[in-house]
């Protein structure tokens, strides 16, 4: 309970800070609409000419894309600043985390919010709604539940992968390039149904870099591209991977802190 209250207070202070710099939220929003618009227009032009992409129609891909964007937005809003760990280690802020009476991980988590996350999240929701209407979907309770579950799971998955990458800063000074190194893989997963990239790519993004679990598998479930028997298997697998990554990244974090406490750098 105390943890939650502190987290809330940390976020509050960060929102206050964001207000101080409230320069151009709308310029940022416009920019993000453009970035995502370009990606979707590309797919629209392609499908206008070729009708479907390996059995996927335009609005199905919009759904795939927007689900990813929604989770990315939530992740950016609450967890994006995990990657700043490398700066905190270099400039000594991390020492301050260690002399405060609260878990340093929560202090790190509470140490920022990113405005652009709000735009991403909203655009994602708009995309999902548009796809829902255009595909004339009619979901029951279970489908909505699965959507919610996958949005939450996707956000957590994003954040634990990010935590694992950020924790590398305890050993290597820079961890940002490694995040940057996954960028193109992420884009591919976000933009296209991954079966077009071959099975090895599919294995990769379903296990070691599990970005496909964020949008590809839930989209297959929610757009009825799998049989009903497969659904529980998919859900369990997703949760399993998230748990594994959760354990992995928190272990890495703990090991990193121990290393920091014995080397001081």
């Amino acid at each position: 309970m105390r943890g939650l209250k502190l987290y809330y207070l940390y976020l509050r202070i960060n929102f206050l800070r964001a207000l101080e710099y409230r320069s151009d939220f709308f310029a940022g929003l416009f920019g993000l609409i453009m970035v995502n618009g370009v990606s979707l227009i590309l797919i629209w032009v392609l499908l206008e000419k070729f009708q479907d992409l390996n059995g996927w129609a335009f609005w199905e891909i919009v759904f795939l894309y927007s689900l990813y964007l929604t989770c990315l937005g939530l992740n950016n809003l609450f967890f994006r600043h995990l990657i700043n760990l490398e700066n905190y280690i270099v400039d000594g802020t991390f020492d301050r985390f260690l002399v405060r009476p609260w878990n340093p991980l929560f202090q790190l988590l509470g140490n920022g919010v990113s405005q652009s996350g709000v735009s991403d999240f909203l655009l994602g929701l708009v995309g999902i709604s548009l796809a829902y209407t255009n595909l004339s979907l009619n979901w029951g309770f279970i489908d909505w539940g699965i959507l919610l579950l996958y949005i939450l799971n996707g956000t957590v998955l994003f954040s634990v992968v990010l935590l694992a990458i950020s924790s590398l800063s305890f050993w290597l000074i820079k961890s940002r390039p490694f995040l940057y190194g996954t960028m193109e893989i992420q884009e591919s997963v976000q933009h296209y149904p991954i079966d077009i990239f071959g099975k090895y790519f599919k294995y990769l993004v379903s296990s070691i870099l599990p970005y496909a679990l964020i949008n590809y598998y839930p989209t297959k479930i929610l757009l009825h591209k799998v049989t009903n028997i497969q659904i529980p298997f998919y859900v369990l697998y997703t949760i399993l991977i998230t748990v594994i990554f959760f354990l992995l990244s928190t272990t890495l974090w703990k090991k990193g802190i121990n290393r920091y406490q014995s080397t001081g750098s």
Binding site: L16, G92, D95, W102
Partner: protein
């Protein structure tokens, strides 16, 4: 006596990877990294009692920061025992954090972009401070440190001196038993330094807070510390009061004399002139071989004297001499 900090055989060894240039060396390092051990703190012993103000001094790289980081729970020692307020800092980091206050001179603990009072409110929750204690300390500190008017200013708009005062207050809201001050007066002007010292003295007297202070400003030490610990190359060289160390290591004093007329030369052999300004001259003399009374008597019989004073050289001299 009531020990607050106990340190026994404390050591800290860092392993550093040797970095050499050249492709062969880089490749060799990739496969067989060569480590070099650096002893930052070596076999340190000391005990600090409740209510003491201890100056922890030494040249750059002597191991001061490393010791402070071990005492505050940031670093885990390589060997030795240490307890702070009856607990082991690195094992009970959070419990320890509740009992100590830390000020790093170069790095603010306040949230940079929000008004000072917002940071204080957050610290109140972080340290589980109840409303009464918070209000009491808030009014006390804002009075003595004169920060009442700064409460609604974002930290980034404060001057260094204002920020330092706010930082010092921030480290004390939870009434810690020990206060660690790492270079608290660095970069401040004389007036602010005076104010900070007066404040530290006052809270030390009033709340019996133990203070550990690292500094390069020996004026801080002379005005505040009843005891100093000097370390060099990670080892303790001296632990005791200020006057003893001065007596032990300082072989001379300074005599300042204002003459009634201009003196071209002086005939007192034990005085060595070090500075002069019109009719005022400064001399150095060995106070263990010559008594001050003799010298003064000598001066008065030979010259017309308007004023004179003797002073000690600062603690800088001591540190310079030892290290």
């Amino acid at each position: 006596m009531n020990p607050v900090i106990e340190v026994k055989g404390l050591s800290k060894v860092f392993k550093v990877y040797e970095k050499k240039k050249g492709i062969v060396n880089i490749l060799q390092n990739l496969i067989f990294p060569r480590c070099k051990e650096i002893v930052a703190v070596n076999n340190l012993d000391f005990t600090i009692n409740k209510g003491e103000i201890v100056g922890y001094i030494g040249p750059n790289g002597a191991g001061k920061s490393t010791t402070i980081k071990m005492l505050t729970g940031v670093l885990v020692p390589s060997a030795g025992k240490l307890t702070v307020c009856d607990s082991i800092p690195y094992k009970n980091r959070i419990k320890n954090a509740m009992k100590i206050g830390v000020v790093f001179g170069q790095k603010s603990q306040l949230w940079w972009d929000v008004p000072v009072i917002e940071s204080y409110r957050l610290l109140k929750e972080l340290y589980k401070i109840d409303d009464r204690q918070f209000e009491k300390n808030l009014s006390l500190y804002s009075e003595i440190l004169d920060i009442k008017n700064l409460m609604h200013t974002p930290v980034r708009q404060l001057s260094l001196g204002q920020r330092m005062r706010c930082d010092l207050a921030a480290s004390l809201f939870h009434d810690p038993e020990v206060l660690f001050l790492d270079e608290p007066t660095i970069g401040l002007d004389v007036g602010v330094k005076e104010k900070l010292r007066a404040f530290i003295k006052e809270i030390n007297a009033e709340k019996k807070i133990t203070v550990i202070l690292t500094t390069h400003d020996m004026k801080d030490v002379e005005e505040l510390c009843s005891r100093i610990i000097i370390i060099n190359n990670g080892e303790k060289i001296y632990d005791g009061d200020l006057n003893t160390v001065k007596k032990k290591y300082i072989s001379h004093r300074i005599l300042k004399v204002e003459f009634g007329n201009n003196i071209s030369s002086l005939h007192i052999p034990c005085l060595e002139i070090i500075r002069e300004e019109d009719n005022i001259k400064w001399f150095r003399f060995d106070h263990r071989k010559n008594s001050v009374a003799d010298i003064i008597k000598n001066l008065f019989t030979q010259y017309s004297i308007i004023d004179f004073a003797t002073t000690d050289p600062g603690i800088e001299e001591v540190v310079k001499k030892i290290c």
